[in-house]
Structure formats: C-alpha cells, structure tokens
Amino acid sequence: MKSFFRVCLIILLSILYFSCEAFFTSNWFQGAADISNITAEEALNSGDPEIMQQVFDQLVIEAADATGTEASELYLQAADLALGISGLSDPAILFEAPELLSGGDGSVGDMFAILTETNLDLDALEDVGVMIANAEGSDPGSVPGDMWLFAAAGNGAAVVNDAADAGKNVTEFLDGYADPLDNTDAKAAVQSLVYALDVLPDDLASEILDNQADLIGKGIIFP
C-alpha cells in the first residue's frame, strides 16, 4: 500500500503544479496559427498587438476599396482593433479613469492625464478617432454612441501627440490657442463627446448641454 500512496502523492503534486490556467491555456500549436484569414473579433481576442496590427492594416486596405455601409462596418472593426492595440479596451482602464481624473485640480491638463499617465499606445488610439471619422464619413449615422466615446479618446490622443511633437505638455500646448477648441483635434474630441451624449454620465452630459449655445458658436454640431 505504501507504493500506492507514494504514487498518489506524486500524481497529486503533479496535478497541483500543472493546474494553473497558464499551463492549460498555452496552445502547443500557436506558432502554426494562420492569421491571414482571421476575423477582427478573433484578432482582438488574441490580445496580441502584433496580430491586431496585421488585421488592422488589412481592414484599412479593404475599407478604402469599399463604400457606404460596407466601408463603415470595416472602419468600425478597424477602430475596435486600434482600441485593442492602444490598450484602452482593457476594462481595468475604466476603473483607473475616475482615480486619475479625481486626483487633479480639474484643469484641461488633468482631463488628458488618463491618456498620458497610463501605458496606452497613443498612436494607435489616435487611429481610433480617424477610423470612426472615416466610418461616419462613409455612412452618416452608422457609428453607435459607445464608439463616439472612444472617438473622443482618440481625438484627445491626437492632441497629446501634437503637444508632444511641439515639445510641450497639453496645457501649455492648448494655451497657445485663443480658445482650446481652435485646435482641430480638441474640437473633434468635444464633437465626439456631444455625439456620445446618450452614453455619457449624467453630470457630464448636463454640462455639455448647458454649454450648448457656447459650443454651437464654436462650430460644434448637435445630432
């Protein structure tokens, strides 16, 4: 019986060792994956930025050759992938955002802190705004409210990138304008937030609506 218990013990220890998720979810044939024909959803689920980038590039080429609803759908899929590449599709970001925003003094610079103080890929995030704008351009009204929220983040990333290119932080960069909304990307970010009114938190939506006349004066269109 001694040997029986020894064998059982070895087996149980082996099971404990191997019973981690990482072991059972590491595919032995991963290197053989053919990603030339996978869907945008599969690329997103892979969590691998290189795979997502490859499918993103492919979708952008296909979308450029398409028109109307088909083009819009392809651009929206590309926007999804760009979000995945940027890291913003990680749900944990949603919980970091209030913490980062509440830590500052409420200035415009703090609003952009979420973009600069996390490990987001800002170039990819900028692509999100571009893809969503392309989708809207291909088929007006086709972009859902949720996506406009991400478009705002994408346009915000464009502002941060422009500021970095100019060697300034966002506050200094926008101070260079008579009105921050004179910056095309900042204006596009606010415009996207206006389009996302349905899914915005009530207090922010009310604030935007309160500023309606002011924003209309600055060329912001309400849907």
Binding site: S3, F4, V7, C8, I11, I15, F18, S19, C20, E21, F23, F24, T25, S26, N27, W28, F29, Q30, A32, A33, D34, I35, I38, E41, E42, A43, L44, N45, S46, G47, D48, I51, A79, D80, L83, G84, L88, S89, D90, P91, A92, L94, F95, E96, D146, M147, F150, V199
Partner: protein
C-alpha cells in the same frame, strides 16, 4: 460481410446528407453530454466505447459494453479565467478581477439532475437534462453575449456487428437516435450596459430585454468500429449526421406572455465526422500497480472545411490525443492534448460510485492560441 452495393449506398447516403446540410448548418449547440473522463483524455474518442459515459462517442460501441446502468450522474463544468478572478477578488484587486472579463468567455454547465440510462445487450438508452450558461465579452466596444440554454432529451441506440472469423477481429456498426426539447435565450448587451447592471440588474432582466426560443430537435448518430485482437480499435463516428432543429423564437418575454406570434426557424446541426484509433497494449507495469493502459488518437470534424467554410478551424485543432491508465484498478490517471491544449484529470472508480475530475483548455478561435479558455469539470456517478 458488406457487399459492394451496400457500401456504395452508404457512401451516397452520406454525401447526400452532407449536401443537404451545407446550406442549413447552424452554429447551434449540440445535444450531447460532455463528461470529465472524455475531457481529461483529449476529447471524445471514436474508438473508446467501454462504458455508459461514452454513449455519445461512437454508436457502434454498445456491443463492447457488458452492462452499465447509470442511475444518476451530475456533472459540473466551469469555463473561463476562474481561478485568476477568484485570486484577484480574494486579494481585493477588483480592477484585475474585472480586467479578466474582457475578451473572454465565462460559462457554467450542469448535466443533471436528470441523468439516467443503460447500455445492455447491444441496446443503449438515456435521458438527460442540461443547463448551460455562458457570458462572452469580446471587447469593450462589441456587444457582450449572455446565453442560457436548457435541454431535456432522450437517446436510444443499437449496435450490431460481425466477428471476422480467422482474423481475431470484429466489425461493429450502430446508430443513436435523439429527441430533445430546448429552451434558450441569447441576450446581447453593450459593455456599458453590463457594468450598469451591476448596480441595476433590471437592465438585464427586464421582460422586454430577454428574447426566448423554444423548440425541439431530432437527431441521428451513426458509427462504425473495427477491433483487432482487443488491442487495436479504429472507430468512425458520425455525430449528428442529420439533426434538424425546429425553434420558435419570441423577441421578448413580454411578447410570449402577451400571446405574440413567434418566428419559426428551421436549421440543422453541423455533422461531425470523426476518425479515431485506440491502442490497448493489455500489459501491466510496476508489478501490477499500473494497468488498463489506453492510448488514443483522433481526427475530429473531418469535413469542417466543407460544412463550415467561413469558420473552418486550423487542421491541428482537429486532433485529439489521450492516454489513460489505472492505479490498482481504482484510480484512473488521464492526460491528453485537445485542440492543441493540454488536458489532465483523474477518476476514482469505487464500482457503484464514480468520481471524475478534469482540467483542460479549449480553443474558441479558429486558429491555435488566439482564444484559449480554461475549464474545470467534475462529475459524480452512481452506476452498476
């Protein structure tokens, strides 16, 4: 022996069924019982047909089972990054826990409490209930899918065969018929809705927000198995060769209660042609400590490329490899590889009472490694 014309008829019949199935194939769940033993040894094996739990493996195998009456079986399966989420929740890291929700699938399946059946004298029958729930969140921007399914059904099968005289081998054939009733709901919600539902569950549970489907399916499995000297077995299982599903879809619970008309949907389940080989050396090791060694290799869903061209899976994902042996005939040790992912488990056989446990990965993508999820499965069984 089988004559040429019968064989030709057999082939033509199969090709006909494949042909009529192609335009109708739906990605519906199959009426099939997954079990911890199969899951631990690299999926269902077409050549493994030795007890009641393998009733869905190959319809030709009932002739091999001496007599197995299962009076009750309960199987639980949990899918998803469960242990990571539990560890994160225990550590108070809610961000990490919720972060695991993105791009994954979380599921819970219960087979039973109705689970009874018997294999005896070449006949097999069984009655089962299955409850399956699944939450799939592709990304923040794509709608999440919450699925719930309840199946109640029965199966009846028979196998027959011939002993090939002078060759110490035999050839078996068999069929399994199925009749099942299904109720199902598939709710799609945006990620923001799901997050909002944490504080206000009515967003998900509102009668207007829950579509419902009711219906039934009838099905047929066919099987063929060749056994040489009780050492080498080759099985061809054709699962759901023709399984039509008749569903009545209500767009919401309110429509159902209000007497609204359902939408009738007819579809067929995708047939699964699987070929498997099993080697049973019939030797014991370590002075009889280790025995009942089985090595199995299968190629599953052979015609996936023709039946599901849009969603066809990578060729390597079709292979299933498994090894099983017992320690003192009581404890079964199992391991394998299925869809490119490792599987492992054990089984305790105390004659009337059996306990099985499995840990395994499953690949939800069409390519290896793009979306692998973790599964835990446990079953208890009373049989004699």
């Amino acid at each position: 022996m089988i004559d040429k014309s019968s064989f030709r008829l057999f082939i033509v019949f199969h090709l006909f069924l494949i042909f009529i199935s192609i335009p109708l194939v739906a990605q519906n769940s199959k009426f099939s019982i997954s079990n911890a033993r199969n899951s631990a040894i690299g999926g269902p094996h077409a050549a493994l047909t030795d007890q009641f739990s393998t009733i869905f493996n190959n319809a030709a195998g009932y002739r091999d089972v001496k007599s197995d009456f299962t009076v009750s079986e309960m199987t639980f399966k949990i899918t998803g990054p469960v242990s990571t989420m539990v560890l994160a929740a225990q550590g108070g890291d809610i961000q990490e826990m919720l972060g695991q929700l993105g791009s994954t699938s979380i599921g819970l399946e219960l087979i039973g409490p109705i689970s009874i059946g018997r294999i005896n004298n070449n006949f097999a029958w069984g009655v089962y209930s299955i409850i399956d729930t699944d939450v799939f969140i592709p990304s923040l921007t794509q709608d999440a899918e919450v699925k719930g399914r309840f199946d109640l059904g029965g199966v009846f099968g028979y196998s027959f065969g011939i002993d090939l005289i002078g060759t110490e081998s035999k050839l078996d054939f068999g069929f399994l018929t199925k009749l099942f009733f299904r109720s199902e709901t598939v709710v799609t919600k945006s990620f923001t809705d799901i997050m909002a539902a944490i504080s206000d569950i009515s967003i998900l549970l509102s009668p207007d927000a829950i579509p419902l489907s009711f219906g039934f399916g009838i099905g047929l499995d066919l099987g063929m198995k060749y056994v040489w000297k009780d050492t080498l077995s080759v099985g061809l299982a054709v699962r759901d060769i023709y399984t039509p599903l008749f569903m009545f879809n209500y767009d919401s619970l309110t429509t159902l209660i209000g007497g609204g008309s359902p939408l009738f949907v007819y579809s067929t389940l995708s047939p699964d042609y699987s070929l498997g080989i099993m080697y049973t050396p019939g030797v014991t090791l370590l002075n009889g400590l280790l025995g009942n060694i089985r090595i199995m290799l299968d190629y599953n869903d052979i015609f996936d490329f023709a039946l599901n061209p849009e969603t066809r899976r990578h060729i390597l994902l079709h292979f299933g490899l498994g090894v099983e042996f017992t320690v003192f005939d009581i404890l079964a040790i199992r391991m394998g590889l299925y869809e490119g992912l490792p599987t492992a488990g054990l089984g305790l056989d105390l004659h009337i009472f059996k306990f099985n446990f499995a840990m395994f990965g499953s690949e939800l993508s069409t390519q290896p490694g793009l979306m692998s999820v973790y599964n835990l499965m446990a079953s208890i069984e009373f049989s004699y």
